[in-house]
Assembly symmetry: C2
Homo-oligomer: 139 residues x 2
DNA sequence: CAAAATCCATACTAATTTGATAGGCATTAG
DNA sequence: CTAATGCCTATCAAATTAGTATGGATTTTG
């Protein structure tokens, strides 16, 4: 029941690109260093993001990546779907018996609701402040 | 972003126990056969359910398992937490930067809301009918 | 042009998790 | 006693995750 580093680091990349949207290409090296991540690994994650058209690449010296659209038009769901596959708590929901099928569907819809209504703009604008939100720490 | 067979089969076991609650112990063999699952594998899954007190075992011939409480008092969240660990889309939410932390918390709370408000009674009562719910098939 | 910066592609690997299987001991109903 | 059942430990194969390694290909600066 976890989102792997693929989705998490992928979101990290996209948030960085959103923060610098309109300021020209951002290199993976910059993003890797700022977030203490492996540049090589990020390369593997951004490849599908490029292939599906969420980002565009500019090659050569002083190149990098830019968002294909404005941050308010790209959602967390767009990113997670590309890197983690379809958003669902189980594969083949249709094959489950009715009771569990209904449960998985409710969970799936709840997650989709959150991911599809959170844009990169939302995420980027909350990235600067370090304030703790009221509802932060509880399980 | 998946619930593994541990959680899914675990729920299957608990739903079966809920359906026969009050009718004496149910053996794993019965449950395994009814759901076409490996009895040995179910043994491994029910061990933590027994250790945490969600079910009680009756040893010996014609033994089996029974729920420790009425089906309306046990939730899907109780079962999933035991078999899958804490309900959260990422480990160490506290360590994430504010924007993503807020996103993970929203997802976590949405999932918890569903799991903690679905009881075994709900699930067991929907298990007999084979009717397709209106909102079944879409992604 | 040459060198540096950057993207691009493929292959390999170590660790972990998942989903079991195997075999035997312990307990109880009949 | 004996058959049916739970209980326990060990082992294992496949898949997934989280990277590393290597070597390009492309573009810009100087």
């Amino acid at each position: 029941m976890k989102i792997s580093t693929k989705g998490r680091y992928g979101l990290t990349i996209m948030i960085e690109l959103a923060k610098k949207h309109g300021e020209g290409p951002v290199s993976l090296k910059t993003i890797a260093q700022a977030n203490d991540l492996s540049e090589h690994y990020l390369e593997q994650l951004i490849a599908p993001l490029r292939n599906t058209g969420l980002v565009k690449s500019i090659r050569g010296a002083y190149g990098g990546y830019i968002l294909s659209d404005v941050p308010s038009k790209i959602t967390a769901g767009d990113v997670i779907r590309v890197l983690e596959g379809p958003i669902t708590p189980v594969e083949g929901i249709e094959d489950e018996e009715p009771a569990k099928r209904e449960l998985w569907i409710r969970i799936r819809d709840a997650i989709k609701e959150v991911l599809d209504n959170t844009t990169l703009e939302d995420l980027a604008s909350h990235s600067e402040d370090g304030e703790a939100d009221a509802y932060m720490f509880y399980i």
